[in-house]
């Protein structure tokens, strides 16, 4: 897995051009043999129109999206490095999925609610969660630990697919409240096979729940390619449950924003769920524990480098004169600062007190926990005594 960040790097126009040469005319989806996907920005950074989805962003917003992606990637690279240095036990990198996450994350309103998997660092960023908060569970100091209600960003969920139901239930509650906010559930291509995700589709359809299912099809579930999960494109799954599914270019931040925004609006209007399949690619290993050389060819990854979500937006911004050297330099510096912030924070992150084992198991207490906590304290104390 490549950990170096491409943030701040010059877009490799040559690669992009070479890849572009093999492609169908601009505007058409660039994945041969794959179904239509919504695209607003080609891999070369050219704006294209789509009959159903449009977007009109000002320079500030466009720069904002670029900044989000760059900083997210930087944070992610920093975390990967921290894992290498032994500061984290594990890290699940989002490298390559920045557009899917920033595009969808920036489509959300503050009062919307997010149910992530364990890889939505970019969405967390959009929600205003301090990225260092995400490191706790990977460092092994907690199992999540941020306040989900603080930023309407639920804890990472590790059991694949479970959160799709939580999102659906939450959305049912939103509807009951008569609120016009929406809920978004993230999951992967692998997760699409879990019964829980199917049941979430059923419940959300039956109750017309204001939820968007955002599937990042990064084409791999650890070592298994998507063919092991489905034989048709995943977005088509929705139709059989009675709600629309749409495939979007997951490396195109504009399209991800437009499509998610539209799905969220649909939910707000009381028209029920939508499945968005963001077709993207996991550029790195599944996690830092994984070794993708065991199961996939380097060429595949290389082909996807040409579709890098950050490079393409940068090409567009530069071509349009929206990002100048000053902006890029400032962003470089902000990146560095973020990196420093993360490194410092992790080193300051204290180990939990051992008594934390017995805390927050129950809200209203539990006699057995009290008993065990007391026994544990006495046991600990016995060493202290011996030590005296």
């Amino acid at each position: 897995m490549t950990v170096e960040s491409t943030a701040g790097r010059k877009p490799r126009r040559t690669t992009a051009k070479r890849a572009g040469a093999k492609k169908p005319p601009a505007g058409a989806p660039d994945t041969a043999g794959q179904p239509e996907l919504v695209q607003l920005l080609t891999p070369e950074g050219k704006r294209v129109e789509h009959p159903e989805y449009s977007i009109d962003l000002g320079p500030e917003e466009l720069r904002g999206l670029y900044r989000d992606m760059v900083l997210t990637r930087r944070f992610d690279a920093e975390a990967t490095a921290l894992q290498r240095q032994g500061e984290l036990g594990l890290w699940a990198s989002l490298l390559g999925q920045e557009a899917a996450q920033i595009g969808s994350g920036r489509a959300l309103r503050d009062d919307d609610y997010v149910f992530p998997t364990y890889r939505e660092h970019g969405v967390a960023w959009c929600r205003g969660v301090d990225p260092t908060n995400l490191l706790g569970m990977f460092r092994g100091v907690n199992n999540g630990g941020w306040d989900p209600t603080g930023n309407n960003f639920h804890l990472y969920t590790i059991v694949i697919g479970s959160q799709a139901l939580h999102a659906t239930g939450y959305a049912m509650g939103v509807a009951k409240d008569g609120a016009d906010s929406a809920v978004i559930a993230y999951f992967g291509d692998g997760a699409s096979s879990q019964g829980d995700v199917a049941e979430a589709f059923t419940f959300s359809a039956v109750y017309n729940a204001p939820v968007v299912f955002f599937c990042q099809n990064n084409q791999w579930a650890i070592s298994e390619p998507t063919e092991k999960q489905t034989r048709v494109p995943l977005y088509q799954r929705a139709q059989g449950y009675g709600f629309p599914g749409v495939r979007v270019d997951g490396n195109d931040v504009l399209a991800c924003l437009a499509v998610t925004r539209s799905a969220l609006e649909r939910a707000r209007r009381g028209e029920g769920p939508t499945l968005v399949e963001a077709f993207t690619y996991r550029m790195g290993a599944h996690t830092t524990s994984d070794d993708p050389t065991k199961y996939r060819r380097d060429e595949e990854r290389e082909a996807w480098e040409a579709k890098d979500p950050i490079l393409r937006l940068r090409a567009y911004l530069e071509a349009e004169g929206i990002a100048d050297a000053a902006f890029l330099a400032a962003l470089d510096q902000e990146s560095e600062e973020l990196g420093r912030h993360v490194r410092e924070a992790i080193r300051l992150m204290p180990d939990p007190d051992t008594t934390a084992i017995f805390e927050h198991i129950y809200a209203d207490g539990h006699a057995l926990v009290d008993e065990e906590r007391a026994q544990f304290a006495a046991y600990q104390a016995s060493f202290a005594e011996e030590g005296n």
């Binding site: 659906t168 959305a171 979430a200």
Partner: protein, 329 residues
């Protein structure tokens, strides 16, 4: 029923009244499950609730238990207090993952920052002549899991009050309803002040031996105590009421007095709640016990077809047999 204070109700109806009261008191309380609406549940425990509180608060769900519990978790995160019905004990397992990995752990995962006041009602146990999967007692499979609380009433008053307390609890509570006692009537005083949800209750005092049971087996133990009394044996009967946490203090107090303990439940003995009670009470009362703690319960076998359940289930004779064996030490 507002004016009335003391009513004689079957257990099923006591739960129904309790749910009604909870829904009146708190608009966030919801009832959900398969067939809980128009039908009022296959045991009519939710009878009439949808009529009075509407489809928005009494929710007929798709036939998917994981979905039921998973969406209930989501609704709890949104501030609701869902009371979920699992139609029969044997059908809780599709929801087991959501219960064990999510419902039980989410409060701790969030370091206490979110609460999951979800009640899962499970009509459990045998004795009703049903087909497979309708007569099981899976409580140990939930009690073993930290983050859950497990209770089971044995009479109408407890059914009423324990349900009130379970719904008010900010923790997930698995509420095991002794389905074969649904029609047993008892007095419910809706103005009473109930004892703590997780405290055992001495339902019969005695001096020679302690019988511990909960849910459907309390009645059997009371009958056994009455029968034993005729033979001059004085048995104390404790209604445990809560399988997580277990009120070991109460059991210990009784055993320190009687010196002998027999635990009775329908669930298989092997790794049933009785194993924990035996282990822990032996540790606590090592010098008080004049006999090993004996256990009466189901066998290490699938719940048998209905025509065999009388033999499978602990009954008066099997309880008395163990009482005799314990007294013979």
């Amino acid at each position: 029923m507002a004016a009335e204070k003391i009513m004689k109700l079957p257990i099923a109806k006591a739960i129904n009244e309790s749910l009604r009261k909870a829904m009146e008191d708190d608009a966030k309380v919801l009832v959900m499950g398969e067939d809980v609406g128009k039908l009022g549940g296959v045991f009519r425990v939710t009878d009439g609730l949808q009529k009075d509180f509407g489809e928005d608060r009494v929710i007929d769900t798709p036939l998917a238990e994981s979905g039921i519990v998973g969406t209930a978790i989501g609704m709890a995160l949104r501030g609701y207090r869902p009371v979920v019905e699992i139609q029969f004990d044997g059908f809780v397992f599709p929801a087991y993952d959501q219960i064990v990995t999510q419902l039980a752990k989410m409060h701790a995962r969030a370091l206490g920052k979110i609460k999951l006041p979800v009640v899962i009602r499970i009509p459990y146990g045998g004795g009703i002549g049903a087909v497979e999967h309708h007569s099981e007692s899976p409580e140990a499979l939930f009690a073993h899991v930290a983050g859950l609380k497990c209770v089971s009433p044995s009479n109408a008053s407890d059914a009423y009050w324990m349900m009130q307390q379970a719904i008010r609890s900010d923790d997930p509570v698995i509420f095991f309803e002794p389905k074969r006692r649904y029609w047993d009537k008892g007095e419910v005083d809706t103005a009473a002040v109930p004892g703590p949800l997780h405290e055992a209750v001495t339902v019969r005092e005695g001096t020679d031996l302690t019988l511990v049971a909960y849910g459907p087996m309390v009645k059997v133990c009371l009958e056994a105590a009455a029968a034993a009394a005729e033979e001059g044996k004085s048995l104390e009967v404790l209604d445990l009421r809560s399988m997580s946490p277990i009120d070991f203090d109460a059991v210990q107090r009784s055993v320190e007095k009687t010196g002998r303990l027999v635990v009775v439940h329908e669930a298989p003995v092997f790794l049933g709640t009785g194993s924990e009670i035996a282990a822990r009470i032996t540790e606590r009362c090592f010098y008080h016990l004049e006999a090993p703690v004996l256990r009466v319960g189901g066998y290490h076998a699938p719940y048998p077809p209905a025509r065999l359940e009388e033999e499978y289930l602990p009954g008066l004779d099997r309880v008395l047999d163990s009482v005799d064996r314990a007294l013979a030490y």
